[in-house]
């Protein structure tokens, strides 16, 4: 995490373009720009700026956004929650599609179903989410008027769970399809691999009922790589749902990162990137824990 923070801090400093010019615009004088830079603390030496930032960050104080003058945490936390809503829904969808289809494809290996599933996943996995999202909007929002075009809630309305769910459907599907494709393939490969293991053949030969065979011997062995991949998808989704957030105007972390980078809003970029990094780390930890629980061989002593 420390490494991430340093990299984030340095990268933003190296990015060309000056905050004062961006904020003050073309008619600012040199003196005015200097004054603004001083007011924002940007004229202090880099290590000092980093040190100050770090001491505040560990207490949860990420400073104030340069663009909006709101405390960064007030800006970032609601966005983070919005992204979590989208991310978890997408992941859930991806799992609900990926696991059964993958298992089925593995069990019905080399059949029409299997080949069909693999072709579809290849297609979906390579489709740009931006294009796919627009296509879904064209069909379900503009043609059929079943679903809204953008946003998280009805702009002129009063919110509510129903409103949220209606707005969630298209973005969640769009974001889910890529990970669903990856998960399907991973599950299929993993289950096929488990099926071909000697102990499974032995159990089959011994006449073990199919369901117990599946559950005890195949799936438990097939799961660890699948869980790992799923966890990585979660980490990726938190930051990588950017394109979906842009197309659907979903007010999440990805779109905040995009606008704050273009605005050179350093405090917000730093906080957001750190948060995404943190999610990745946490997701990996959770995944490792689950694998330990599943696989007795990983448990020590």
């Amino acid at each position: 995490m420390f490494g991430v923070s340093v990299v984030v801090f340095l990268l933003m400093q190296l990015a060309p373009g000056d905050v004062a010019t961006a904020l003050l615009g073309p008619q600012a004088t040199v003196a005015a720009k200097e004054a603004l830079r001083h007011a924002l603390g940007l004229d202090r030496p880099l290590p000092v700026q980093y040190g100050v930032w770090l001491t505040h960050a560990v207490r949860g104080d990420f400073g104030v956004s340069i663009a909006t003058q709101e405390p960064v945490m007030d800006l970032v936390l609601p966005r983070f929650l919005n992204t979590l809503v989208l991310t978890f829904s997408s992941l859930l969808l991806a799992i609900l599609i990926g696991y059964p289809v993958g298992i089925f494809a593995a069990l019905r290996s080399q059949t029409v179903f299997d080949r069909g599933a693999m072709a579809v996943t290849l297609l979906l996995g390579s489709t740009p989410p931006y294009w796919l999202g627009l296509l879904l909007v064209l069909l379900f929002a503009l043609r059929l008027h079943w679903l809204p075009v953008s946003g998280m809630y009805d702009i002129a309305g009063n919110g509510g769970l129903g409103d949220l769910l209606r707005h969630l459907i298209l973005p969640a599907i769009t974001t889910a399809l890529g990970p669903a494709a990856i998960i399907t393939r991973m599950v299929r490969a993993s289950v096929r691999d488990a099926l071909s293991r000697p102990h499974v053949r032995v159990a089959r030969a011994k006449g073990l009922p199919r369901r117990r065979l599946l559950r005890r011997h195949v799936l438990r062995n097939a799961l660890p790589p699948v869980i790992t991949i799923t966890g990585l998808q979660l980490g990726y989704l938190v930051g990588g749902a950017l394109l979906t957030e842009v197309v659907f105007d979903w007010p999440g972390l990805g779109s905040l990162l995009y606008t704050s980078i273009t605005a050179r809003d350093l405090p917000v970029v730093q906080a957001t990137t750190l948060l995404i990094g943190l999610c990745f780390v946490l997701a990996n930890i959770v995944v490792d824990l689950i694998n330990v629980l599943l696989d007795p061989r990983l448990q020590e002593g």
């Binding site: 060309p16 008619q27 600012a28 603004l36 663009a67 909006t68 003058q69 008027h145 842009v246 105007d249």
Partner: protein, 529 residues
């Protein structure tokens, strides 16, 4: 200032409107009034403190909430420039030597928080954005308002309803300069500043205007509502919701689906289709905005005026206006933007003549043309116009290599001035005051003191521009600016090519919208019907 990025719903809409109408308990909707306008904007605005912000996107909102002593009347479309009218000052006089402005303040006006507007409030505001010796001074405000405040020598309160500002030297464009989209001397409630602090105004923007601020959900929406206690003609809309939708495709989709009723900077090729579907296209030919190239006087070939003239002759301006802008822009031949008192729509400079251009180049010693670098900002929708220009130049033998930069990076390069290895760059800009041209062409506007990115300098031009600032007579002032315009185009250090008519697409239910000769709108004339 930014460049523009080139750019069945009935069930949902009626439901939305019914909801909005029903929200006013018991009130029968009067004809010609009411409704909620939802505007899909191309970018999120920054802070709503008019003294301490510089974006014209932001001004779209703050214009509805705040007012200055003087205003531009944006309810008239068919005028060459927005008339200057009384705002929070009912009248003003200018001394014969042009340096003393005396404003009579409007009585009975209250800020949105109920506190009174008077000379003490004006004094507080002037101290905030100009007077460094005052405890109310806010450095950030001065940084943004510098174009207006650099002319001020003194501020005095004469009586509770009269104030006086003394300038350092006569400048008859000064009032207009206070109404452009950088930091503006609009009146903020002093009580609000005292209660929320200087930084707090961003979230509590309390002014005197026809709309007052309700809420802001950053990145999602900003909501304002009608101010029922407004001193002037009351707004008709109940509410306006500003919704940032950065992706142009999403903006268009949301308009078609009835989720929003208005978009600005629509993609050019979507306009005919949407008009066919029943949406209304609104434009204004006098919007103060021109797109132009800076030719770099430090780049060797550009130092020969024949080369610069050849480039001006090589660009097919009418073609760009016709085939790319498709009626939402006109060919431009001069460096004065439309929308000002000094603009002359009949002004012409170079005709499109690639053969004559090639001859000129050969005369200047470049019979086979030359190579150069063309710096430009990266647009999300592709660099259509720039590619056209590149093609025009190739036809006369000039090989322009496009170097694209992300917007903020580009701003930095542009403000720094071109280095000697760059041939030209570009910008789209303009103001409703002709004094804008000083920032772009004057010798004293070389980096870092201005945006004369091509290092152009002509002392004669500067003399004319200085005289124009000091000229109280409108006819003589226009003559001076036009003379300067002719000299600038004879020197050919700039290539203006097209202006922008600010196309706005509106749902059929939006009534009373006025697209004025300015880069923002007065929404108090609009209603949903």
């Amino acid at each position: 200032m930014t460049t523009h990025e080139p750019t069945r719903r009935n069930l949902l809409l009626t439901a939305g409107m019914a909801a909005a109408a029903g929200a006013i308990p018991g009130a029968a909707r009067a004809a010609d009034s009411g409704g909620t306008l939802i505007w899909g904007m191309p970018a999120e605005t920054d802070i709503l403190d008019p003294h301490a912000t510089g974006g014209w996107d932001t001004y779209q909102i703050t214009y509805q909430i705040f007012e200055g002593l003087v205003k531009e009347d944006l309810t008239k479309a068919d005028v060459p420039t927005p008339p200057l009218v009384p705002g929070l000052a009912t009248s003003w006089t200018i001394s014969p030597d042009g340096t003393v402005y005396t404003f009579k303040l409007r009585p009975g006006v209250k800020f949105h928080d109920g506190t009174p507007f008077d000379a003490a409030a004006v004094k507080f505001n002037f101290e905030r954005f100009w007077d460094e010796s005052s405890p109310n001074f806010y450095q950030k405000a001065k940084s943004f308002c510098i174009a207006y405040t650099r002319w001020i020598r003194a501020f005095d309160v004469i009586d509770p309803m009269t104030v006086r500002v003394t300038l350092t030297s006569p400048n008859y464009q000064w009032l207009r300069q206070g109404l452009q989209s950088y930091g503006q001397p609009l009146m903020i409630s002093p009580a609000a500043v005292k209660q929320y602090g200087n930084a707090g105004i961003a979230l509590h923007p309390i002014g005197t205007g026809p709309f007052r601020f309700i809420q802001r959900d950053h990145g999602v929406k900003t909501v304002i509502e009608r101010n029922p206690d407004y001193w002037g003609r009351k707004a008709k809309l109940d509410r306006v919701i500003f919704r940032p939708l950065q992706d142009p495709a999403t903006r268009v989709n949301a308009l078609q689906d009835g989720e929003i009723q208005m978009i600005t900077t629509p993609p050019w090729d979507e306009i005919p289709r949407l008009v066919k579907q029943g949406f209304v296209l609104s434009t204004n030919k006098n919007v103060p905005y021109i797109n132009f190239l800076y030719l770099n006087m430090k780049f060797k070939p550009m130092q020969d005026v024949r080369v610069r003239r050849a480039i001006n002759m090589a660009i097919d301006r009418e073609g760009i206006a016709r085939d790319i802008y498709r009626g939402t822009g006109r060919a431009e031949y001069g460096m004065l933007s439309p929308g000002t008192d000094a603009y002359d729509p009949a002004f012409r400079s170079y005709k499109y003549d690639p053969d004559a251009a090639k001859k000129l180049l050969a005369e200047a010693g470049y019979p086979n043309g030359f190579k150069m670098v063309y710096q430009l900002p990266q647009y999300g929708t592709g660099e259509v116009v720039e590619t056209w220009i590149q093609r025009n130049l190739k036809a006369i033998g000039v090989d322009a290599e496009m170097r694209k930069y992300e917007w903020v990076t580009y701003m930095g390069l542009w403000a720094k001035g071109m280095s000697a290895d760059v041939g030209m760059n570009e910008i789209g800009w303009g103001m409703s005051t002709p004094a804008w041209i000083n920032i772009v062409v004057s010798c004293s506007s070389w980096s870092p003191n201005g945006e004369n990115s091509g290092w152009y300098c002509n002392k004669q031009v500067d003399e004319l521009l200085d005289a124009a600032l000091k000229e109280p007579d409108a006819v003589k002032m226009k003559a001076l600016y036009q003379k300067a315009n002719r000299l600038i185009m004879d020197d050919a250090a700039y290539v203006p090519y097209v202006d922008d008519m600010q196309p706005v697409l509106l749902a059929k239910t939006v009534k009373g919208f006025v697209n004025p000769p300015e880069d923002w709108f007065d929404l108090s004339t609009v209603w949903i019907g």
